[in-house]
């Protein structure tokens, strides 16, 4: 199929060879699973079990709260030993609400889980509902609840489902392995999602540095005219939804909009696999494939990991550390985040655990910007990163916003190429965070003001009502004294009602 060339981007050394030939392996259960209730974008789930309760694999642990949320299920059978807070898989290392489960070693599925033989007979809403109930979120790392994206049909005119198998981050191989080993299941999930979205066209896009995955998908899709397999050029950040869709369609989704604005919805292969499991077998999302790799890992591997497994356990299962890593990363090296410790659990969005040596990270002391423009050429969003950073350093955040700060997808291409080794993304992230905080503060201020005004209006109205009541009583007394009939007292209610907005 015809592909379109994105602007910018970089060609980092892919380092996938460390783990790409290692089949997905199950791991022995750890002693404890720490299952966070916030593993997704949105509101944390609400505990549905109590301490001491025994659960089977797949039982509901916590239910979703609101539309943008996802429930959490038991990754294995065992006993709930704690409902409290535990350090999150997040660079801050802050604690989040977490349910701690002690596996009983039997790993027995709940009997209540039933799948359907013919998901294509179900109405689209029902598929979305089951996907939501299974706690499935975007597993490429974005962790947006998948069901919400399946329901986009209600608001957008959709025509194409794109499966993002680009896996453009260096090192990661979990999607590659999953596609190679379970292409039938992945494709089944893809078709179920297409049915839910009501689209007749599917493109499975895989970077050309994964020929085996491409071949596996082609084989699985033979005879299905609605499915196209696209071999993408290997270029980071091909996996950015908006850039992927541009590559495939030649159309840019509007700024601050969604790819759905141009009729396309993008999902990840691991999400498709989870949808297959949920619809065919009734199984909620309780495990995922994680790539454990990096030069500091003794035996890089692709592991099938129950959610809530501590990172330390994965490293142990990969032969331990060969040397002390310079950086321990969750996710890929380009957009991943540093892990605060190895105690933190694997969550739905964890696609990789990277133990990188100093040589791999190649960090140097930053020098002044020499305005070489490498970052401008590398930015896939058409931004001028050096200026965003100059404004940020000059504390002119509004200026940075005018230059497109909020259009930055945080891909890191700019910082990757910068010969001065300036941590551009760090400044940009700081500016974005600061603007978000200001937005919240402004919102809070407006809200406070509104509430204060409401209150004073109420007080004012109450005072006026009191005054009028007194005046009326006075008049009544006078009237009584003069022997006349009192006027009707309805005015009181009317004034009060008007004063309330």
């Amino acid at each position: 199929m015809k592909l379109f060339k994105i602007r910018g981007g970089v060609h980092p050394e892919d380092r996938k060879g460390l783990s790409s030939e290692r089949p997905i392996e199950p791991i022995p259960l750890p002693h404890l699973l720490h299952v966070p209730l916030l593993q997704h974008v949105g509101a944390a789930a609400n505990p549905a079990v109590h301490r001491g309760q025994t659960v089977r694999k797949g039982d509901l642990l916590a239910e979703r709260q609101g539309v943008i949320s996802a429930p959490v299920h038991a990754p294995t059978s065992g006993r709930v030993v704690g409902i409290g807070r535990y350090p999150a898989n997040h660079p801050s290392g802050l604690s989040v609400p977490t349910i701690t489960l002690q596996p009983d070693g039997e790993d027995r599925w709940s009997d209540a889980l039933v799948g359907t033989d013919d998901p294509f007979a179900l109405p689209p809403e029902e598929i979305a509902a089951r996907v939501a109930a299974a706690g499935i979120v975007g597993m490429g790392g974005a962790t947006f609840p998948a069901a919400v994206k399946l329901n986009l049909r209600q608001r957008y005119r959709l025509h194409t489902l794109v499966i993002n198998g680009s896996e453009c981050e260096p090192y990661l191989t979990c999607d590659d392995r999953l596609i190679r080993e379970q292409s039938e299941q992945v494709l089944d999930g893809v078709r179920i999602m297409a049915h839910a979205l009501g689209v007749g066209h599917i493109i499975v896009a895989i970077e050309s540095n994964k020929p085996e995955a491409l071949a596996a998908m082609r084989a699985a899709a033979t005879g299905r005219a609605e499915i196209e397999i696209a071999a993408l050029p290997t270029r980071y950040p091909m996996g950015s939804e908006r850039h992927l869709v541009f590559t495939l369609t030649g159309r840019e989704s509007p700024a601050r909009g969604l790819t759905a604005d141009i009729g396309v919805v993008v999902h990840n292969p691991a999400t498709a696999f989870a949808v297959h499991e949920a619809l065919r077998h009734g199984r909620p999302l309780v495990e995922r494939v994680v790539t454990v790799t990096g030069a500091a890992i003794a035996r890089p591997a692709n592991l099938r990991v129950p959610l809530g497994t501590p990172v330390a356990h994965l490293i142990e299962q990969s032969g331990g550390l060969r040397e002390a890593p310079a950086r321990l990363i969750s996710g890929g090296p380009m957009m991943g985040q540093p892990l605060p410790s190895t105690r933190v659990p694997i969550v739905k969005g964890s696609n990789g655990v990277l133990a990188l040596t100093a040589q791999e990270v190649n960090r140097r002391e930053p020098m002044p910007c020499i305005r070489c423009g490498s970052c401008v050429g590398a930015c896939p969003c058409g931004l001028v990163p050096l200026e965003l950073v100059a404004r940020t350093r000059a504390a002119d955040l509004e200026g940075a916003v005018r230059l497109g700060l909020m259009d930055c997808i945080g891909c890191g291409s700019c910082a990757y190429t910068c010969p001065a080794h300036i941590p551009l993304v760090q400044y940009i992230n700081y500016a974005k965070g600061e603007m978000a905080a200001r937005g919240r503060a402004r919102h809070k201020q407006i809200e406070t003001k509104r509430l204060a005004e409401l209150r004073s209006a109420r007080l004012e109205a109450a005072k006026r009502a009191k005054r009028e009541a007194m005046a009326r009583r006075k008049r009544q007394q006078q009237a009584k004294a003069e022997g006349e009939t009192p006027p009707l007292g309805n005015a009181e209610v009317g004034t009060n009602a008007e004063a309330r907005p």
Binding site: A44, P170, M334, P338, G373, V384
Partner: protein, 365 residues
């Protein structure tokens, strides 16, 4: 932000391209070596002396300025930017100029044109070109006295001691002086001659390509400089935009004017191969610090440089205009960067989000 608090203090990427400022500078120097060697060889010991003095002064000035500003000396010296500035300046000097031309030039380039602005990355103008223009205006005689090539160890070439005498003594070498072709043409056209009379006696194009003509120390060998420039483009140290736009503009202007009056206006070959054209297009106008950062901005910048080079050479009182042209365009760089930006993904050129029709079938503008 998420419920998890402030953005991380440490952000990715946790991988980095094998680049550094030092590497960039070293690649530029590598690309300069062939052209430089030819220059040093054909202008002999005086040229070598001048080259060494200029670079040494630039490095010492940088070290002194860094120390004065209490900045770390080592990392900034090791990045090679001062060495490169000195090198480029030396390339543009008359090869037999006295030592103090190189020394004063080196000081101006580093102290006045770079460190006063705040050091690496902060200067508005190309340091080597500032120095070159300042010298030209202050010492017009020394800066316009060129010599015919006398290759090292050839019969007419000064030996080592002779070279020292020329560079550091006051020994005159009137017998050796020779005008550059642009200089000669400029002077002779002023006396009412036509190109038909002037050219045959002064110049062979293929000589200019190889570099065996009178000229600045490192500007004469157009071919080797071009090869160096292409090497830089292939290694992505510079982008093609500035050199291509600049050379194309010079070619266009020269062709047009030559067609109008071949007796008065040089054909484009002379403009491309003589003087500082190639050195300026690939090594000086492309100085990252003082050029625009976007591709379209660079095209505009290269166009401006080319146009100014042609205009200054043809109609001003100076026979060569590359230094002035680059400096004038340097002054425009902030303006260009302000107005010429890449289009942001998902927005039109005005910055508004792209709008698609009802059918979702729109195309990008």
């Amino acid at each position: 932000m998420s419920a998890l608090g402030d953005p991380p203090l440490i952000a990715g990427p946790f991988a980095h391209a094998p680049t550094s400022i030092g590497l960039t500078m070293r690649l530029v120097m590598l690309a300069l070596i062939p052209g430089t060697l030819v220059g040093l060889w054909q202008f002999g010991w005086p040229a070598i002396n001048l080259f060494v003095v200029t670079i040494a002064t630039a490095i010492l000035a940088e070290a002194a300025a860094l120390r004065l500003a209490r900045r770390p000396v080592r990392p900034y010296l090791l990045d090679g930017s001062a060495l490169l500035s000195g090198w480029l300046l030396a390339m543009t000097l008359p090869p037999w100029a006295p030592w103090w031309i190189g020394a004063v030039g080196g000081l101006i380039a580093i102290i006045v044109a770079k460190q006063v602005f705040g050091g690496l990355g902060q200067n508005l103008f190309n340091p080597a070109m500032i120095a070159r223009v300042a010298l030209l205006i202050s010492f017009p005689v020394q800066m316009t006295t060129f010599v015919a090539p006398t290759p090292l160890f050839s019969a007419d070439a000064p030996d080592f001691l002779g070279g020292l005498a020329i560079t550091f003594g006051a020994q005159t070498y009137d017998a050796m002086t020779s005008a550059t072709v642009l200089g000669q043409v400029h002077t002779d056209l002023g006396t009412g001659l036509t190109l038909l009379d002037i050219l045959p006696s002064t110049y062979q194009l293929n000589q200019a390509a190889i570099g065996t003509v009178a000229g600045s120390l490192g500007e004469t060998s157009a071919l080797l400089l071009l090869l160096g420039g292409l090497f830089l483009i292939s290694r992505r140290v510079i982008s093609w935009h500035i050199p291509v736009a600049m050379l194309a503009t010079i070619t266009l202007c020269a062709t047009a004017m030559h067609l109008v009056n071949p007796n008065h206006f040089l054909n484009p070959g002379y403009h491309l191969l003589s003087g500082a054209t190639i050195l300026a297009a690939f090594f000086i106008a492309t100085d990252p610090v003082t050029a625009p950062v976007s591709a379209r901005g660079r095209l505009l910048f290269g166009f401006g440089c080319g146009l100014l080079v042609y205009v200054i050479r043809t109609w001003s009182s100076y026979p060569e205009g590359a230094a002035f042209a680059v400096l004038l365009m340097n002054a425009c760089t902030p303006l260009i960067d302000h107005y010429v930006r890449p289009r942001i993904y998902g927005r039109d050129r005005r910055g508004e989000p792209l709008a698609y029709g009802e059918d979702n079938q729109g195309t990008t503008r």
